[in-house]
């Protein structure tokens, strides 16, 4: 890949806007002066104490007292105060405790040796101490950095969308670097070039116009732009390209926070490299999301292409057959109607009638499924009685078909509570299921509609036939659009069960197929029971009713 960003260059740019770095330095220099003064004061105190206790007589113990204080200063206050203390200590020791007293002149060689070694020991001690402290600090920083990165990567892995990725990433970046940041990305919905949405750690925000040009430039050149850079140095944000394997996937816009968090303790350039690592992780996560979105879109495209083809080949055939019959039969009547024998004429009329009805049913199921798929299916829930819905289905089917007695059996508990359903849609589900059962199981077998409650949560409706049934491996497929069984020369388009599933699922239920005990197909579906359903009253029977029973 081209143009990995020059780390040093970006670090410099980032350093300019990272508030913590600047503020941290100021804070430390103020503290340092104070620490230096404390160190000098401590040395002064030791000198006075030494004089008061008669330290001039026992310079060995006095030197050890000085070393002791310098050691404490080195541990507590750091390297610089310790060196200052060591120097001040050497001077004070010389001035107050080595003859001639009250002068920095040293007359004896061994006195000079004592003073010099005291300074050297103190300096060595402080240097070692400082090195240890630096190592511990680096280890602590490294640990924090690993922790931050780990937390970031974990959150990024849990994110399920570009928005989630960006908000998670930004939360970590803002916490880790003490800045406020946004990500500009391209939302895949339209094919336009460039960024069309901005995401902050709180979610989507308005895309600011002035962002766009600079961000676009940064993305194109894979270089940081904006505040403090050669490109648009006066901008309020620094735009930092998020580049992954396929190039720039977004731009991180970083802005100095007006009130940087006080407890921000990352020192020096550390947060910069942390920020860069985080940005890198974010870029990769965004790319991952983009790729999976593209994959999904491609799958949907393939699937809808498949469906379109199925519609064109299968449906056009199914629709053309009745149309052909209608056209040819009616043209026969138009052309030769008066020459045809009465029997043939009524045969033609009957054919037209039947095929027109079939065509009408086909078109209805096509329209229904189209409406379902396009999300146009409106579920008008109301308190409904399943007994009534089943009653309507039976009435309609028994009007349309010539059925033997006991062909359709029902079992509906009389105390079944009302359900929150769309009666028209559920009636359609039941019609489709019962119609299928009657069509495919043959007229010699009864079809049963059985309703039971399962606990107080749902109602189970079963449509049971005792026909040939279908192999178990077709159970899952029969609900697919345009699916028709292997040896199914039935009259439909293979949409009835698709529609049934769509409607049942829109009601929060499930639908599935299973074997009927003893042979045949059973289709079952559930409908949720509402907790506050109006209960059916037990009917009050009068004497007259009892006389004839029910």
């Amino acid at each position: 890949m081209e143009a990995a960003i020059d780390r040093k260059a970006t670090s410099g740019m980032l350093a300019r806007i990272l508030p913590a770095v600047k503020n941290g330095r100021v804070a430390r220099s103020l503290g340092a002066l104070k620490r230096d003064l404390i160190a000098i004061a401590a040395i002064g105190a030791v000198s006075l104490l030494g004089l008061w206790l008669g330290g001039r007589g026992d310079i060995t113990n006095t030197a050890i007292a000085f070393l002791f204080v310098i050691a404490i200063i080195s541990m507590r206050l750091g390297y610089r105060p310790a060196i200052i203390a060591a120097s001040a200590g050497a001077l004070a020791f010389d001035y107050f405790f080595l003859p001639p007293y009250g002068s920095i002149r040293i007359t004896h060689f061994h006195d000079m040796l004592t003073d010099a070694s005291m300074f050297c020991v103190a300096a060595l001690f402080s240097t070692l101490n400082e090195r240890l402290r630096k190592q511990a600090h680096a280890a602590r920083l490294g640990e924090r950095r690993t922790e931050s990165l780990y937390a970031l990567v974990k959150d990024l892995a849990d994110a399920r969308s570009i928005d989630e990725v960006c908000t998670a990433g930004l939360r970590h970046i803002e916490a880790g670097a003490g800045v406020s940041a946004r990500v500009l990305v391209r939302d895949g919905r339209d094919g336009m070039e460039g960024f069309n949405c901005a995401i902050s750690s709180q979610g989507r925000v308005a895309l600011e116009k002035e962002d766009l040009d600079v961000a676009q430039w940064a993305a194109k050149h894979l270089e940081a732009a904006g505040q403090g850079t050669p490109k648009s140095p006066t901008a309020t944000d620094l735009y930092f390209p998020l580049s992954a394997t396929r190039g720039c996937v977004g731009v991180l816009a970083i802005r100095t926070r007006e009130d940087p968090a006080e407890d921000f303790t990352m020192e020096g350039l550390r947060p910069l490299s942390l920020l860069q690592s985080m940005a890198q992780q974010l870029a990769m996560a965004i790319e991952r999301m983009l790729l999976s979105a593209e994959k999904r879109a491609a799958e949907v495209e393939v699937e809808s292409e498949r469906i379109r083809n199925a519609v064109l080949s299968g449906v056009s055939h199914d629709l053309r057959t009745p149309l052909t019959v209608i056209t040819s039969a009616s043209s026969t009547l138009v052309e030769h109607g008066d020459r045809l024998p009465v029997g043939a004429r009524s045969e033609m009329s009957r054919l037209i009638n039947e095929e027109a009805k079939r065509l009408s049913a086909l078109l209805k199921s096509l329209l229904d499924v189209t409406r379902l798929q396009s999300g146009g299916l409106r579920v008008n829930r109301d308190w409904e009685s399943l007994e009534e819905v089943i009653g309507s289905v039976l009435r309609r089917i028994e009007e349309q078909r010539i059925l033997g007695l006991r062909q359709l059996r029902t079992h509906v508990p009389s105390d079944l509570p009302l359900l929150q359903i769309d009666a028209i849609l559920i009636e359609q589900v039941l019609s489709n299921l019962v119609d299928n059962a009657l069509t495919y199981a043959g007229n010699d077998f009864p079809v049963e509609i059985d309703v039971t409650t399962r606990g107080d949560r749902e109602v189970l409706v079963s449509v049971i036939d005792h026909g040939q049934g279908i192999p178990s491996d077709e159970f899952a497929h029969i609900f697919e659009k345009f699916y028709r069984g292997a040896d199914n020369g039935g009259p439909g388009l293979g949409l009835g069960l698709t529609l049934a599933r769509g409607i049942v699922e829109a009601h929060g239920g499930k639908i599935w197929a299973t074997h009927t005990r003893g042979g045949g197909l059973t289709v079952q579906f559930t409908l949720p029971l509402a907790s506050e359903a109006p209960q059916m009253k037990e009917p009050e029977f009068s004497e007259g009713m009892r006389a004839w029973g029910r």
């Binding site: 819905v389 009653g391 028209i424 059916m536 004497e543 007259g544």
Partner: protein, 236 residues
């Protein structure tokens, strides 16, 4: 065909010429006297001047919304109105029935079905004539609206007050579709508008009392998404 429906006059409000043609042929072949109009304006004039026995109204008219036409017609005529609608107009159907239409047909419908609906509507409304009926007979039942009694043969069927109100409302509009809203208003008052659950619960207990197989009712017919009708004829 009974004497009641012989030569009755029908106002056919339909703007599609081909459908009109088919309906005209069939209705005239049945011996009805048909007047056809294709606009709402003309329909109102015809209702005022000719006072037809029954009105067939297509809800999709070019000039006036069929829904607005129903109350307009009701100002001038008590004749039964059968609304004809496309399948997508379910909501309109309820509104038309609430506004005073008596029955509905959904396109595409078969001619025999249409003729059957016309016959039933003419028969039920012919008896209304002057004073409203006080006794309605359906199957082996005899409902006396004034005496507030329901007899099955010689036996007395006891109904609760609410059940009776519901049954009486359905009986007063015998063979018409009565919407759930109308039933609620008649039995509970307007305060319970929209609480269709009440109606379902009481219709359930009415079915338990009156129907030998409540899942295959012969008299208390449910019209999904619309309401109920009490079938007094054609249930045989």
């Amino acid at each position: 065909m009974g004497a009641v429906t012989e030569g009755a006059s029908i106002l056919l409000i339909e703007d599609d010429r081909k459908i009109l043609r088919v309906l005209l042929t069939n209705l005239e072949a049945e011996g009805y006297h048909v007047v056809d109009v294709s606009t709402g304006q003309r329909a109102i004039e015809e209702v005022r001047t000719r006072n037809p026995d029954i009105i067939l109204l297509d809800l999709g008219l070019p000039d006036i919304d069929g829904l607005d036409l129903v109350p307009e017609i009701r100002k001038h005529s008590v004749a039964p109105i059968i609304v004809v609608s496309a399948r997508e107009q379910d909501a309109d159907k309820v509104k038309a029935l609430d506004a005073g239409a008596n029955d509905y047909l959904t396109k595409p419908f078969s001619v025999p079905e249409l003729l059957a609906r016309i016959r039933v509507a003419l028969r039920s409304h012919a008896q209304v004539g002057g004073s409203p009926r006080t006794t309605i007979v359906f199957g082996e039942y005899r409902l006396d609206l004034e005496g507030r009694t329901l007899l099955r043969g010689d036996g007395h069927v006891r109904l609760s007050a609410t059940e009776f109100k519901l049954l009486a409302t359905l009986a007063r509009h015998a063979d018409d579709v009565v919407t759930t809203n109308v039933l609620l208003k008649e039995a509970w008052g307007t305060a319970h508008y929209g609480k269709s659950g009440y109606v379902r619960v009481y219709m359930h207990s009415l079915r338990q009392k009156l129907e030998s197989d409540p899942t295959r009712p012969r008299y208390l017919i449910n019209e999904a998404g619309l309401g109920y009708r009490l079938r007094t004829s054609g249930a045989e």
